[in-house]
């Protein structure tokens, strides 16, 4: 594909663009043209499509989620609230904790191990980005029934992905939940939580302030993984009537992440950054537009300077790539030498890719040609917002009335008793439609017990089927 520049876009206003294939609606595409006063270049179209996807812009859920900010009790203990990479809460003596939970559902359904692993990787980078040392992870999970074939396909990989990535970072998994229910067949929920600790003075924000400051990309090189993963994978499932889209799951490397954590903490300790953002969903499109929006708005980026794993990647693909284990920092010129030194010590690839300007536009060039020229807020924050129709499902009141309250089990004997109680025929009837709904907080429960619980799930399931004199489906093995 020939390079599409701003000049070409201006000269050729009527070029057909595949906005629908990129997940944009007709009116959204029209709005982009209105914002720019011309058709977008293909790179701009890539950025808007990925940043305006449900996954990145929360265009359907934003109106509801913002209530968390509006209705929260005002308190001095909340040092950083909604809008940044993660919230920060004062815990006294000059210390603060930051934590965040995020789902990585559809990628984990497509490719269980990498989907879950990069879910952990992404949430850990969010915590790191706040300036904190990540200290622990948790993983609330939802699967289809324990004996459903798709559960057998996804569960082992998801468990191994969460465990494998976290272990390589040295982060203990301090708790989680597991629920098996028909609702989650074909749509497992994989939530990853990370908690970090820092001093108040260590808090970092995603903003590109100060004209002349440098935009620095460091961490893994950019590859072809996860291109379009955000918009293509995560968004269209709300009304998936079209053909199945090609999977585009990112692949993680926990070793690179561990080195990135230590390198970043050393950089933070010497106070070398003005602002910082990790690269996750929507990659450079997200990081550059959010950093620029967080500052005065002006930023110039030379995209051809981005180190690549695959030299054939086009600028559109580089902007959309979701290669993992990358960070973008804003660094004052006087600190850049020391910044590069620390990266060199940790063998971390680092490149100055641009600078903050005193303008209000994000300008991205490719070998000197201008390919993106946008107001960054329109990409990062001023995407479409929808008020979708609301209706309370009929079953909600019924299910709420049928909750079985059991005390939280803490010993092996109590866990066994709880599992058996939940699996009794009368409970089974009450939980009609919920094959075996069990939530156990793993905190304070030794590892071996959690394995026992999973084994008991299978056992009690067997007992249920025997009770109901139905044929026994194949069971999942040792998990």
């Amino acid at each position: 594909m020939a390079l599409d520049t701003v000049a070409i876009a201006q000269a050729n206003p009527d070029t057909n663009q595949p906005f629908a294939e990129l997940g944009l609606k007709g009116d959204e595409y029209a709005r982009i043209k209105e914002i720019l006063g011309r058709r977008p270049t293909s790179s701009e179209l890539a950025m808007y499509s990925v940043m305006w996807s449900e996954h990145c812009s929360y265009k359907s859920s934003k109106v509801h989620l913002k209530q968390f900010g509006e209705k929260a009790v005002k308190t001095d203990a909340l040092l950083v609230g909604i809008g940044e990479n993660a919230g920060v809460v004062d815990v006294g003596q000059g210390y603060a904790v930051t934590f965040k939970i995020e789902s990585h559902n559809h990628p984990s359904f497509i490719e269980p191990y990498q989907g879950a692993a990069t879910g952990i990787g992404g949430i850990v980078r969010d915590i790191l980005t706040m300036g904190a040392r990540p200290i622990a992870v948790m993983d609330p999970l939802r699967f289809g029934p324990a004996d459903a074939p798709d559960t057998r396909r996804v569960l082992p990989g998801i468990i191994a992905g969460v465990g494998g990535y976290g272990n390589c970072l040295g982060l203990p998994n301090i708790g989680g939940e597991v629920v098996f229910d028909e609702t989650y067949i074909g749509n497992p929920l994989v939530n990853a939580l990370c908690v970090g600790v820092m001093k108040h003075s260590d808090i970092k924000l995603a903003k590109a302030a100060g004209a002349g400051n440098l935009v620095v990309l460091y961490g893994a090189k950019t590859g072809g993984d996860g291109i379009g993963g955000v918009s293509v994978l995560a968004s269209e499932t709300f009304d998936a009537t079209g053909p199945a889209k090609r999977p585009a799951v990112q692949v993680g490397d926990p070793f690179v992440e561990k080195v990135l954590i230590e390198c970043s903490l050393e950089i933070f300790a010497e106070d070398l950054v003005v602002g910082i953002q990790d690269l996750g969903g929507a990659g450079l499109s997200c990081a550059t537009s959010e950093l620029a929006s967080g500052g005065s708005g002006g930023m110039k980026v030379e995209l051809d300077r981005v180190p690549l794993r695959d030299a054939t990647l086009s600028p559109e693909e580089i902007l959309m790539s979701e290669s993992q284990e990358r960070m973008c920092a804003i660094v004052e010129p006087k600190h850049i030498e020391r910044f590069l030194e620390i990266c060199k010590k940790w063998d971390v690839t680092v490149t100055v890719i641009g600078e903050v300007t005193d303008g209000e536009r994000l300008e991205i060039t490719w070998h000197g040609e201008l390919i993106v020229d946008v107001p960054p807020r329109t990409v990062a924050h001023e995407g479409p917002v929808y008020n979708r129709p609301l209706a309370k499902p009929k079953y909600v009141d019924r299910v709420n009335a049928e909750v079985v309250n059991v005390p939280r089990p803490e010993t092996a004997a109590q866990i066994k008793e709880t599992v058996l109680k939940l699996a009794q025929p009368q409970t089974w009837q009450i939980n009609l439609g919920l094959h075996l709904n069990m939530i156990v907080m793993f905190r304070e429960i030794p590892f071996n017990h959690s394995q026992m619980i999973l084994e008991w799930c299978v056992l009690t399931r067997k007992q249920i089927w025997e009770l109901q004199s139905q044929p026994m489906p194949t069971l999942i093995g040792h998990i």
């Binding site: 272990n167 970072l169 203990p172 070793f255």
Partner: protein, 222 residues
């Protein structure tokens, strides 16, 4: 008295190892994998983690790190050297200790508080224990199954070079329930479980691991 703690890229337990050394009354000194400089330390700890990612055999790359040349020379000269978990794997790869650590026999990562029996208190790292003493410290690894040929096993047993054994069920399929071994001289010890995570009741299941670090202080004061 200075105890060096090596950080390779991918090392995870260097901070806890340094804390344990400090807690025992020694001065912890950070050693960097890429600097062939022991900073005149009196003993060295190779901590746990995934050095260089361990995408090849565990410890296979680390043994070639610039700092390892100096460590191997010093250990051959009698310097106390403790390898914990990944550190034990590095010691085997560096041929400072015999045998190898392979995947746990059930092929799962294990993380639990493990009971051990100290079976040799004549090493630089175990002199503060009594022979037969039972301790509980964390075990957390995927490749902790100690394997060696029959002749090596016979030599280790015959020469009393098994430092600690797992008590109760064999957690990972290690031959003769071996949790840790030493070299002929007793200055180099490799241990799969983690004493540095059990040095005080606040952060560990017990404080049973602290004696590894006080032992080395005693060894050097003598």
């Amino acid at each position: 008295m200075k105890v060096g703690v090596v950080t390779f890229p991918g090392t995870l337990d260097d901070r806890d190892a340094a804390r344990a050394a400090t807690h025992a009354g020694t001065t912890a000194v950070s050693l960097w994998h890429n600097d062939a400089d022991l900073k005149s330390v009196d003993a060295v700890i190779l901590p746990g983690g995934f050095s260089y990612g361990d995408y090849l055999r565990c410890g296979a790359i680390s043994r070639f790190a610039p700092v390892m040349e100096k460590i191997i020379d010093a250990a051959n000269g009698g310097m106390p050297l403790l390898g914990i978990c990944n550190g034990f794997q590095v010691l085997c790869e560096a041929h400072l200790l015999p045998g190898a650590l392979t995947r746990n026999h059930e092929l799962h990562f294990l993380c639990r508080d493990q009971k051990l029996e100290i079976t040799n208190n004549q090493t630089a790292w175990t002199s503060s224990y009594k022979v037969g003493q039972e301790i509980v410290i964390p075990l957390k690894n995927g490749e902790g199954s100690f394997q060696c040929d029959d002749a090596t096993l016979a030599a280790l047993e015959g020469e009393g070079r098994i430092v600690a054994r797992y008590v109760g069920e064999n957690p990972n399929g290690s031959r003769n329930k071996i949790a840790g071994i030493t070299n002929e001289r007793g200055n180099v010890v490799g241990l799969m479980p983690h004493p540095e995570h059990a040095i005080d009741p606040l952060t560990g299941p017990t404080a049973d691991g602290l004696a590894f670090f006080t032992s080395v202080l005693n060894a050097m004061v003598k």
